[in-house]
Amino acid sequence: MTDKILTARMDAHPLDSHTLDRYLNTGGYEALRKAIREMTAEQITEEVKASNMRGRGGAGFPMGVKWGFLAPAEPRYLVVNCDESEPGTFNDRQLAERDPHQLLEGMIIASYALGVNHAFVYIRGEYPKVARRMQSAIDEARAAGYLGKSVIGSEFSLDVTVHMGGGAYICGEETALLNSLEGRRGEPRLKPPFPAVEGLYAKPTIVNNVESIANVPWITTNGGAAYAAIGPERSSGTKMVSISGHINKPGNYEIVLGMTWREFIYDIAGGIPDGKELKAWIPGGASAPWFVPSEHLDTLFTIDDVASNGSMLGAGAVIVMDETTNVVAAAHRLVRFFAHESCGQCTPCREGTSWLEAVLKRILDGNGQPSDVDLLLEISNGISPGLAWPPAMTTICPLGPSAVSPITSITRWFMPELEAMIAGSEVAVG
């Protein structure tokens, strides 16, 4: 069985994996031919459903099921979410930069399956090279007849527009992204209605992550059952995982899920630099509750095992902290991010994230109060009552509750360190 789906071409052809020529002579656009000439739209959706692929953007919702919700009204839109902004993630950047045609072919097949004639790629503003590469791929594909009025001579027509963001994390949330694409402030919308019913310009819209769509050509060629057969049930297929922080071999790894965290951190990513001890890691991006070596090294790296241990795989970003890490400073840095990126619509998030940041800051500055632990938990509870994971929501989107994760993580695993810091004693890090 193939162990690399998404990165095989860029590994084999590092110098030109982004070009149409290389794409074509490594089997590119064959899946599109098969889709348009041999399959109906419904058959493609059925294959995607059969793949059991869970959306790679963070929520983990099965992509085929999402496609099935698309309302019949016209026109309909497909929007690919390349607003990759979750701290710790950089896998979509690699997929779109190094193999843009793979993503584009996935978009064309998906558009054909969904009855879409205008698709968009929303690329974060800080990724100009991704936008350049995608636009080159679009231009090449159009000139070669894979896009435009009559895709490979069929009745099907498709335009693809690259849209660049303006620097706002929240636009990765799909309804905020749609508002942004409509030329509005990137504020999340109340759901329902879901985008599949009322999305872009209030028309039926599917929003999928880059990695999800990049898998579509392979699924079309090999069938959903073949994809579902890879890896554990309910975490099928390969997953691009970004690992960063205190780690010997940071980078993106396309892996089959199901190994232990110990294997991933030590065997795959080379372990902790300079022989230091592992202190904690975040298994799924800044929003996710932390894991610690005393509890989780032998936990399995699957979507469900991470969830049943109180965290999430999210978009697949692992952030590693070694024994020298000041966890209060790390928590402050994470909370500061969410405070900065809060869109301001919902009071618990707008006010809560800023207060959490302020309290952590004063602790870091040596002005912590004995009551600050309770205060941190009280503010957190106001954002996400019960402090459970998955979080209870008081807000339109999950940004606010995400800011609570660092707080519950340090109070759960590193309380003595937090209390020592508040007491102003020399912090025993490690």
Partner: protein, 209 residues
């Protein structure tokens, strides 16, 4: 009938037309047009926002409400080179605060400020998706990964001394970078001429030197 802004360069007028034509609804063009207008006016000035409003037929305050939501539309004058130091979690863990300090020392300005001669603006930014190559820095949104404080200082000196017309990520990576998030592959010859994302449709991408 599509409005044009007659005092914009013919090139930018053409771009505005292309942008407006690429969306089913005009208002979607606000964000890309704000970038083009920022090229014309050197930043997203009141005039720039008013002109975007004319082009998409909404009110200037609606454009301002959009521009002010995002961090990349600069509503104050910005230097020729915008140096953005990532201080997000992964970069923080790998010493980004020291990189920011080195940039502030080398330029003599703090984050959020511009040097007196208007050449360099400094900002610290949230995660820019370069965590595997932490700490990361962007110049006019072109990326450099694996930057040390020494290299950051050298980068500022290089910008001030050579005043490159186009900043190229691969060139800067070679001169001032280190660990990368992944193999970047072949060099990209397009770069930025202003603190606007170097993407063809906004007109800031240029063939390299």
């Amino acid at each position: 009938m599509t409005a044009t802004i007659s005092h914009w360069s013919p090139e930018n007028q053409e771009r505005a037309k292309d942008i407006l034509a690429s969306y089913p609804e005009k208002r979607s063009a606000v964000m890309p047009l704000l970038y083009v207008a920022s090229l014309e006016h050197e930043y997203a000035s009141e005039d720039a926002m008013r002109e975007v409003a004319d082009l998409v037929e909404i009110t200037p305050i609606q454009v301002k409400s959009v521009a002010s939501f995002y961090t990349m539309y600069k509503r104050e004058p910005v230097g020729d080179y915008l140096v953005s130091v990532c201080t997000g979690i992964s970069c923080f863990l790998r010493g980004a605060d020291d990189v920011l300090e080195a940039v502030e020392e080398a330029t003599g300005v703090r984050s959020g400020e511009t040097t007196e001669d208007g050449s360099v603006s400094v900002e610290h930014v949230e995660c820019i998706g370069a965590c595997g190559g932490a700490p990361a820095v962007q110049v006019n949104y072109e990326l450099i990964e694996g930057v040390t404080p020494d290299k950051a200082e050298a980068l500022i000196k290089w910008l001030e001394d050579t005043k490159p017309e186009v900043v190229l990520a691969d060139e800067m990576q070679q001169l001032f970078g280190g660990q990368q998030s992944f193999d970047w592959g072949p060099a990209d010859t397009m770069g930025a001429i202003r603190p606007v994302p170097a993407f063809g449709v906004f007109g800031s991408a240029k063939e390299g030197r």
